[in-house]
Amino acid sequence: MTDATVQTPSQGASGKVRNQSKHIRTWGDWLALVFLIIGALVMLFPLLILAMNAFKTIGDYNANGPLTLPDHPTMEGIASFWKSSNFPLKFVNSFVIALVVAILGVTLSVLNSFALGIGRVKGNRWIILLIMLANMMPQEALLYPLYTMFKQVGIYNSQLSIIVIFTVIQSAYGTYLLSAVYGTFPQAILEAATIDGASRWETLLKVVLPISWPTISVLFVFFFVWTWNEYMIPMAFLMDDNVQTIPLALSALQGQHTIDATQLASASLLSIIPTIIFFIVFQRKLNQGIVAGAVK
């Protein structure tokens, strides 16, 4: 994940280089292209299998196995999961949790890192290490203490509990990453801002934020998708049907000894569509934001 974030600026740079040397592709380029295509196919293969089985009837699946195209494509699996799980409600739960976590997580990360990376608070390295503990600890170890705390406060079995947990966990990662980025922030720009009479608040909003926007946007998308897919902690804290998220609705399809493969496939397909849409929509929006910032 760290790689991807760090690559964002470097990708831009290599793009420029490629533009200068147009139409000249070396053997190495072709080889890389072939590997990339193979890689993409390998990555897409499970999705393809999922899509094929999502529209199959169970009879068809029993007779022909998972690797064939559906004989009589049917929407039945999707429709029945939509109804039985009350999908719209689960969707709203997942969406609200993931979105709020992404917003709060990013905000917290930026504020933390501004203090740690640019503010250079004393002992910042140790503070970062302390914050990272939230991420380093196995989630299993967190369950019981959190359960006791949330029960006391009265938010066990509510979306708020998940929002609190993941805002902290995600922002720990965000703080670690962003404070490293801010640690290398050009001092000259900061000094210029101070000379211009900018307060710290203005420095953050008008100088630091626009420049680090690419990293922040990537963090935002990651936080959203990670939280969306979280399974273990929501499973421990969300018991009621009214508060459960999509991954939990999916797991309810799997019985103790029985599993309806085609229905599971259609449900899984249905559950990843929102994240893909989110990714596509926001990635573009955020990229526009980056470009706009760069022009200024």
Binding site: S84, Q159, A236, D241, A252, Q254, G255, Q256, A261
Partner: protein, 434 residues
């Protein structure tokens, strides 16, 4: 200012959520008539028992005017997190619980389940359910099954049978076996004809069930009491264990069971039996209704593995009333509906095994045969349950050990000794041994 506002908003959200959840009359036990009872289950909504529960709930609503709210949870969620939510004020009124010392037994010993004693007396459940069938519903104060206190109500039973693809038997000129020798001869004939005879998975529990069923052909009740109820130390050199482990190994070497079984899961073996790829498949009776509705291309019949002294299985998952339920009397009334003759008959018709001894028939002859076969064992108290009941770690440890046998990376002695280690440490952790 802004931060204060946010904190206030968070606090208000938290409070409104918690007050919503906490409505109800506190400790005023069962007196007030509730509007709805909440019921949490993890059974597949297409199963016979789930239909039965729903039907019982309808009758209950008609009689009392109290609605029921069924919520389907995942098996893992109930298995892993029930001790947490049963201890909160979010506990449901009725819950499906896995039976055995590691699940319902553990919950009962933690004081999370209601003692159903008064209701058993009131409704006469002990007269409807045989001693053997209620053994999984009764626990002692350490949470060991077959105790004296009822903590749950069984509503159906299940056991392991071998399903035979009759068309394949006819095609290769093999008789359906009635003794262990004939069974092995049949396997050999199929093998000679180039067909792998036994459909089994080692990715989940298939080989484990086969292994325990082989144990059940040699074991007596004393062995089972030692294994399941910790009466004496298990004799690891005894015939049931060595015979079963060696036989599985032999079947693997002869190719009766494919070594590819390690990569298979229950759903793979289910669908390949339905497809008609294998002549024999030992599986739980929870698959019977699925086979009835989904096997289209061949005729089948099923019997317990030839030569079995004990049937592997028992009553299915229990319906329990959490200690924190605020409407126990009504919940018990709902449970009594589940065990009523009409509902039990419905289970029999749909391919499940009823536990009420008053219901013995099904109009489907395959179901009828299954019910009779189960009754013949349950009447004699000849059930071997499942091998992983003594300790929670065995559910993973035994399949893992047997997987090494299937892989060929361990010999039978080594496999038995790793099961022994897991059993010994697991039982020690349970802290139940007298």
């Amino acid at each position: 200012m802004k931060i204060k506002g946010m904190v206030a908003a968070l606090a208000i959200t938290a409070m409104s959520i918690s007050t919503l959840a906490a409505c109800g009359s506190g400790d005023n036990q069962s007196q007030e008539k509730p509007e709805t009872l909440s019921v949490w289950t993890y059974e597949s909504p297409t199963s016979a028992q789930y239909h039965a529960w729903k039907k019982a709930a309808e009758e209950f609503t008609k009689e009392t005017g109290i609605k029921t709210k069924f919520e389907t949870k995942s098996f893992t969620q109930i298995a892993q997190n029930s001790s947490q939510f049963l201890d909160s004020d979010q506990a449901p009124d009725v819950m499906e619980s896995n039976r055995g010392n590691g699940s319902a037994g553990m919950l009962s010993s933690m004081g999370l389940l209601s003692d159903l004693g008064p209701y058993v007396k009131k409704y006469g459940w002990d007269k409807k359910v045989t001693q053997a069938d209620s053994s999984m519903a009764r626990y002692d104060d350490k949470g060991i099954m077959d105790g004296n206190t009822w903590y749950g109500l069984p509503s159906y039973a299940e056991f392991q049978r071998v399903y035979y693809n009759k068309d394949m038997f006819a095609k290769y000129g093999v008789e359906i076996p009635t003794t262990m020798d004939e069974f092995e001869q049949a396997c050999q004939k199929f093998k000679d004809a180039g067909v792998t005879p036994i459909d089994a998975d080692a990715g989940e529990y298939g080989v484990l069930w086969l292994w325990w069923q082989l144990v059940s052909t040699k074991a007596d009740k004393q062995f089972m009491a030692d294994w399941q109820m910790y009466k004496h130390d298990v004799n690891w050199k005894s015939e049931p264990l060595t015979y079963a482990t060696n036989t599985i190994n032999e079947w693997l070497e002869k190719g009766y069971i494919s070594r590819n079984a390690t990569g298979l899961k229950a759903e793979d073996t289910n669908s390949s039996f339905i497809k008609g790829d294998y002549p024999m498949y030992q599986t739980g009776t929870w698959n019977q209704s699925r086979f009835i509705s989904q096997v289209k291309t061949f005729d089948w019949e099923a019997h317990i593995l030839p030569g079995s002294k004990l049937a592997q299985g028992c009553t299915g998952n229990l319906m329990v009333i959490p200690e924190k339920s605020k409407h126990k009397d009504y919940a018990a009334q709902l449970l009594d509906k589940i065990i009523s003759d009409g509902i039990q008959k419905g289970i029999a018709e749909e391919g499940g095994i009823p536990v009420s001894s008053k219901v013995k028939t099904s109009s489907n002859e395959k179901n009828q045969a299954m019910i009779e076969e189960y009754a013949s064992f349950s009447k004699k108290d000849a059930l071997s349950y499942y091998p992983d009941y003594p300790a929670a770690n065995l559910t993973d440890a035994i399949p893992a050990a047997l997987q090494e046998l299937v892989n060929g990376t361990k010999n039978p002695d080594q496999v038995l000794s790793s099961i022994k280690d897991a059993y010994t440490s697991g039982v020690k952790d349970m802290d139940v041994k007298n």
